[in-house]
Amino acid sequence: MDRLLAQLLPSLTETLGTIVFIIVATALIELIVYLVIGRIFKSRHLLVWMLIAPAAVGLAILIVYPLLWELRLSLTNMSLRRFGDKAQYFWVVCAAGEAPKGLAWLTECLFKNYADVFRMPVLKQVMFLPVFLRTVAWTGVNVFFHVAGGMGLALLLNRPMRGRGVYRALLILPWAIPQVIAVLAWRGEFHYEYGYFNIILTQLGLAPVEWMSNPLANFTAMVATNVWLGVPFMMVILLGAMQSISGEYYEAAEIDGAGGYQQWRHITLPLIQPVLTPAIVLGTIWTFNNFNVPFFINQNELESSDILVTALYRAAFEYNRYGFAAAFAFVIFILLLAYVLIYIALTGTLKESTR
């Protein structure tokens, strides 16, 4: 007991220190906001300011500051030889030497890393565009199966039956397992000698598959794992939406002679649309940025299985191209931002909720 306490105590005091710091800092922020907004500007919205302030400061420290730091990093030549303080802005380098003029100054000095993302291999052999297209394919296939699978299961569960709670609990189980653990377990199942799939295939008299070294097989393994992980989320969301639809619509439809498909097409689908759309947007972004599945299933580090985020990780932490990786990260960020803006503009999703 004493030993346990001795081991726990340092971490407990560390945690406690952090909590105390957060409380004191929050109080301090509130005090400053109160004095500045309330006393000096005498604003009517003092309460609003005070409620928003801690979150705003937190976001600024945790998101805005790293983003600005990253932006700065993306304009430097940081690598192993120019590590930390030794990194320099490219424009400094160019100003010192013979700086090229015009457009070349942009691509060779200021935005050299950004230009490199598109004109050099982002990993060892593979260029940006193939990785991007693969990421789009990966996202598309996954989200399709997530929605289709989730919808199918939700429809099955959305009717009176015995043991519905049990089925639902079993089906959302994948969601309850920490993702990395689940993915590593799946990787084990794709093992050539000892994996579940190859054992089944051999029992059926088929040839075992080289899941780890064959590019297509590895990609398939990634998709299979991620579909298994992603379906429960869609199922839970869609089931929730379906259960909020009043039964009267279906009764009326039945009286009018509508079949199952027509009911689904003209009642279920339109009425779950407000839930479905954000779920798809979220699912797309999560899948696009899914790191665990492509990284861990791709044990052999095949470049043919890397999507943008795993390529980004390798560029930064395996190949030490820090400045380049920062620029690469911004390119990915801009792509996602564009996707979200276009999607929102096309579907008008947010208009409803902000009204």
Binding site: P10, S79, L80, R81, F83, G84, K86, M120, P121, L123, K124, Q125, H191, Y192, E193, Y194, P208, E210, W211, M212, S213, N214, P215, Q299, N300, E301, L302, E303, F317, E318, Y319, N320, R321, F324
Partner: protein, 410 residues
């Protein structure tokens, strides 16, 4: 313990500690935690050994405790240490492989150890692998870390001396339902010995210019592909996969490192054989695995007290008694000269076999350029094995990738 006795013990300990450090700096007496990062695994008991060493030191110096962490594996240790150093929160001591010295010195995040300990006590071969720019960047813990051939005497009475011997014996083994040979096919570390056997090397004479697009590399890749195509090795095998096949008797031989000798000895007893990797018949040359060892590396920017404790711990961990302890527990070759000459090593057939293979090895380059070579070789080697590229194309791609990588270092 009565207070008086405790004081006596404590003061004895303090006197002892001062005597141990000799004329060096006195150790701090206040409580202190040393964060030690290592990359040893649990399976061969090495992780437990590191933890036991730290606990033994704490027993002698109760004010000093350790936080012993394995960030995951060797690669993760390198990545995490670089990131932690950048963030200004590096650990206090590293236990790792020699080639990390390359990136770490390039990034200026470790310090040379020449002035910290008496390097004259350690084996020259082990020191050479951390000698960069005329300074040494690690204190050796073990010598070797080389690959060699282990064989199961039940299945293979005499180990193959040449690759022709190996090819000749495989049909028989396959007929018994046994995979003749297993090895970790996912890491280029297992390619390097064969490259040496075919007469190639990853660097030119200058030690920094990659020479990967060579006939020797093409021959090496073709040989690895042949091993796979003829069913001599499993179609797909990572480290644990190969290890399990050998341990379960489903593979007759395995190419694995000296680090696992202790575990195999415990498992197989007399049935275990240790030999050199078969000589390449086409060239008559023995494969040349990389040799290095495990090293203590000291992060830059430690305060004086911490550095004093860290150095004292290094001396403690590599003293004669602990080095011989390590030999008996892990069956790894020690780095301390006096320990290497001990009878417990010269009289042991396994350790003698390991030492014999080590002689045929070449020191693993520690220069940062080696990272480019590793990163360039791995994907292309895998592409050849999966049949996506010819050995010729892969060798050319390796070279261009390594050259591109060198540019990104600048």
């Amino acid at each position: 313990m009565k207070p008086r006795t405790m004081w006596t013990v404590l003061s004895l300990l303090v006197v002892g500690a001062i005597a141990l450090t000799g004329c060096g700096q006195a150790l701090p007496t206040g409580p202190m935690t040393i964060r030690l990062w290592h990359q040893e695994g649990e399976a061969d008991n090495a992780k437990q050994y590191v933890e036991a060493l730290a606990a033994a030191y704490t027993a002698e110096h109760p004010n000093i405790t350790f936080e012993v962490t394995n960030p995951g594996d060797t690669e993760l240790l390198r990545q995490d240490f670089q990131t932690a150093a950048l963030a200004g929160t590096p650990p206090d001591l590293l236990w790792t492989v020699n080639d990390h010295a390359g990136p770490f010195t390039t990034a200026d995040i470790i310090v040379p150890v020449d002035d910290l300990v008496d390097l004259g006590l350690y084996a020259d071969g082990a020191l050479a692998a951390v000698d960069l720019n005329g300074q040494h960047w690690g204190v050796p813990i073990t010598s070797g870390n080389h690959l060699m051939l282990y064989y199961n005497k039940d299945l293979v009475p005499t180990p193959p001396a040449t690759t022709d011997d190996l090819l000749a014996m495989t049909d028989d083994l396959k007929a018994q339902g046994v995979t003749p040979l297993a090895y970790n096919q996912t890491e280029a570390f297992w390619l390097v010995p064969w490259l040496g056997g075919f007469g190639g090397a990853v660097f030119a004479e200058d030690g920094v210019t990659p020479t990967l697009n060579t006939p020797e590399m093409v021959a090496t890749l073709a040989w690895l592909k042949q091993l796979k195509d003829e069913g001599i090795v499993p179609p797909e095998s990572d480290y644990p996969g190969a290890d399990t096949l050998f341990q379960e008797g489903k593979a007759a031989m395995i190419i694995n490192g000296d680090w696992t000798l202790g575990a195999y000895k415990d498992l197989f007893g007399d049935k275990l054989g240790v030999a050199r990797i078969p000589t390449v018949s086409a060239t008559g040359k023995p494969p040349a695995p990389y040799t290095s060892g495990k090293y203590f590396m000291v992060p830059a920017g430690l305060d004086e007290d911490t550095q004093a404790v860290v150095v004292d711990f290094i001396k403690f961990a590599t003293n004669q008694a602990n080095q011989l302890d390590m030999v008996s527990l892990l069956a790894r070759l020690p780095a301390l000269k006096t320990a290497l000459e001990d009878a417990s090593i010269t009289a042991d057939p396994y350790l003698a076999g390991s030492a014999d293979q080590m002689v045929a090895g070449v020191g693993m380059p520690a220069v940062v350029e080696m990272r480019c070579n590793w990163d360039a070789m791995k994907p292309e080697m895998l592409a050849v094995l999966s049949g996506d590229k010819t050995p010729e194309d892969a060798a050319a791609a390796m070279q261009s990738a390594a050259e591109a990588c060198l540019l990104t270092l600048e």
